[in-house]
């Protein structure tokens, strides 16, 4: 054991005597390992960010999207395909306590893009048209004023709640509540000479600053009553999305069954194969997202793995050069009694010390870069968690040592096989 420690010390001393080359040799390993650490850290950070944002919505939420979709795949609506199978009658049916007893609140949604005008200021933003129940199915923090009531939502009053950024652009001095803004309706017939119309809305509330959730800036949007958005602005008669709050998380799965039954009844569907809607809870959403991020992580991990192999080949190259440079030394060592095993171990140890050092430096570099990215993400307003998993570190160290053994073995065996006479005569 004492001898082994001594050998490691000698090897380190030896490698330090040619610092520049040793460093260049392990640069590939450093980059590869740092890559692995960063990718795993970013993957975990992004995953926990997205999952955190989803769970913030509440675990007792069920969403209904138009169009059928695969159990674990994203619904078609995600890809921008408009499916018009959900209607307000469906919403009414779901609201029916006798049919879905566990649903406490139901909100329907349509959304689109609009231009809001106040005086000379105008802002292009997106709108969400929903019911007054929105405040109960989603966490909404109102800074000033109020959200619209169920009654205002139902009657289709021309009232509007502004996102934080929208309010700031239109009313730099505050004082928004009670003001009248105009929403310009994008008129598809404009080209035929018809003047696009605009509808006045009274500002009744301003949302608190929310930042970015699920990759959308929550402050750059406005809320208007559902029927106004659906009929007057979009001019459609279908519902893009329904969100239902269930009384208790335990009842989510049975409630989903109820909702599916109600919708099949409504749409006169007998066979589940022909469903034209998708009922999803957050567990599904989390499952989908996790499978997407896992795939990404495997893919990126594979790339990092390839860079480790390239780094390993670099090690092998330099070790071969080292062996041929030290041919005389090998001959001398053999002449004074070194066995093949002694020589093999000497060079194997050298490449393992190299890759291990590369691994440690790579881990430190990876942690540093991941940390800087986390700081940057937080600075950009994301609720980013800096995660370094001990598994990633163990993996990186193991892989780098394994790289040293795998790619150091051939040069070491080559050194061990050298004939002492030939080696001693080598110039």
């Amino acid at each position: 054991m004492n001898n082994f420690v001594k050998e490691i010390k000698t090897t380190i001393k030896d490698l330090l005597s040619r610092k520049g080359r040793s460093f260049l040799t392990i640069l590939g390993i450093i980059i590869g390992v740092a890559g692995v650490i960063i990718i795993i850290s970013l993957g975990s950070g992004a995953q926990s960010l997205v999952l955190g944002q989803i769970t913030k919505l509440g675990s007792n939420m069920v969403g209904v999207l138009p169009g059928k979709s695969n159990e674990n795949g994203p619904p078609t609506a995600v890809f921008g395909v408009q499916v018009k199978t959900l209607t307000l009658t469906d919403v009414m049916a779901i609201k029916d306590k006798s049919k879905v007893p566990n649903a406490t609140d139901v909100a329907s949604f349509v959304s689109g893009n609009i231009t809001i005008i106040y005086g000379k200021e105008s802002v292009d933003t997106s709108f969400t048209a929903t019911d007054g129940s929105y405040v109960r199915v989603q966490n909404v923090d109102i800074d000033k004023g109020t959200f619209f009531t169920d009654e205002e939502g139902r009657s289709g009053a021309n009232v509007i709640v502004l996102g934080y950024d929208v309010a700031n652009s239109l009313f730099p001095n505050g004082n928004e509540i009670g003001q009248i803004v105009k929403i310009k309706i994008p008129n598809t017939n404009e080209s035929r000479g018809e003047v696009s119309s605009s509808i006045p809305f009274r500002v009744i509330g301003v949302q608190k600053k929310m930042g970015t959730v699920a990759f959308q800036n929550q402050d750059d949007q406005v809320f208007i009553p559902f029927s106004v958005g659906q009929r007057q602005i979009l001019g459609i008669d279908y519902v893009q999305f329904i969100r239902i709050k269930i009384d208790d998380a335990i009842n989510v799965k049975p409630a989903m069954k109820d909702i599916e039954r109600v919708l099949r009844e409504q749409h006169r569907i007998k066979d589940t194969e022909h469903d034209d809607f998708s009922v999803r809870d957050l567990a599904d959403a989390i499952k989908i997202l996790t499978s997407i991020t896992d795939t990404l992580r495997i893919f990126l991990g594979l790339m990092a793995g390839i860079s480790l192999i390239v780094g390993g080949i670099g090690i092998m190259n330099i070790m071969l050069v080292t062996v041929s440079e030290r041919t005389r030394e090998i001959g001398l060592r053999k002449a004074i009694g070194a066995t093949r095993r002694n020589i093999r171990n000497q060079f194997l140890l050298e490449s393992i010390v190299l890759t291990f050092t590369g691994g440690v430096l790579g881990i430190l570099l990876g942690i540093l870069i991941s940390y800087l990215i986390a700081i940057g993400a937080r600075f950009a307003g994301y609720d980013w968690v800096f995660v370094i998993s001990p598994m990633a570190i163990i993996l990186a160290v193991t892989v780098s040592i394994a790289t040293g053994i795998v790619f150091g073995l051939y040069p070491a065996l080559k050194a061990a096989k050298l004939d002492p006479i030939v080696a001693l005569r080598y110039e």
Binding site: N3, T10, S17, E329, L332, I336, G337, T339, R340, L424
Partner: protein, 239 residues
């Protein structure tokens, strides 16, 4: 008999072209002898020494070392003999660069079965060649004569029966050469067998027996009369 060679033949095969380097060499060396092997370059004297020193295997013939037939020894056994029973001194010193004098001398002990007291054993060997004061110098910070004395200390550190010296003074000035020869003589006087390869008659005459080899065969094997022997005095180098 310490060393007994019978009909040693060594051929080198260079891609089908066979070079006969040793053509039936028989030689016996007794413990305590000081033998010089002489011959022109290409005569096979280095190959002979490498064969006796277990750095090279003969193509045919038997080699008894200390009564044991070594022809069936495997690589590990040969490495062990080289480590424990013999020591080498080379013309070009072959010290490890960027390594201290002490660590150079410790090197054979790293491959030795007895790992105890490495440092004190190495220091003792260095003191016996008069370099007890220079143990922490780097191997490239000392003179050629001192390098060869470090190499002798390295050859001595495992307490071998035989020391092989291949042109040990070949790269040295006469003064340093004399010091090296003086050390070898002293080691021989203490009972160690020395086998020296040289083409320099002045160096060979330090031995008590000169074996001359030519074209792969021994052409003469004579004892040196005491009157003709040269003895180098111990010269204090300007250290």
């Amino acid at each position: 008999m310490l060393i007994e060679l019978k009909d040693i033949i060594k051929n080198y095969d260079n891609g089908g072209v066979i070079t006969k380097v040793l053509r039936g060499v028989s030689l016996s060396v007794d413990e305590g002898e000081f033998v010089a092997i002489m011959g022109p370059s290409g005569s096979g004297k280095s190959t002979l020494m490498h064969t006796i020193g277990f750095l090279d295997k003969p193509t045919s013939g038997t080699y008894l070392f200390d009564g044991e037939d070594t022809s069936s020894f495997n690589d590990d056994e040969l490495a062990r003999i080289r480590n424990e029973r013999i020591g080498f001194v080379f013309q070009s010193f072959n010290l490890l660069p960027r390594t201290s004098v002490l660590d150079n001398v410790i090197l054979p002990l790293l491959y030795n079965t007895s790992k105890a007291n490495q440092e004190s054993r190495a220091k003792l060997a260095l003191e016996s060649v008069g370099l007890g004061e220079r143990i922490h110098f780097m191997s490239n910070q000392i003179s050629g004569g001192q390098k060869q004395r470090v190499a002798i200390a390295r050859a001595l550190v495992c307490d071998p029966k035989v020391i092989f010296a291949d042109e040990p003074t070949g790269n040295l000035d006469s003064k340093s050469g004399a010091t090296v020869m003086n050390i070898l003589e002293r080691l021989n006087k203490d009972g160690r067998t020395i086998i020296l390869v040289t083409h320099d008659r002045g160096v060979a005459l330090h031995a008590n027996r000169i074996v001359t080899i030519s074209d792969g065969q021994i052409v003469s094997d004579v004892l040196v009369p005491e009157s003709e022997r040269i003895h180098s005095k111990e010269i204090k180098e300007d250290e």
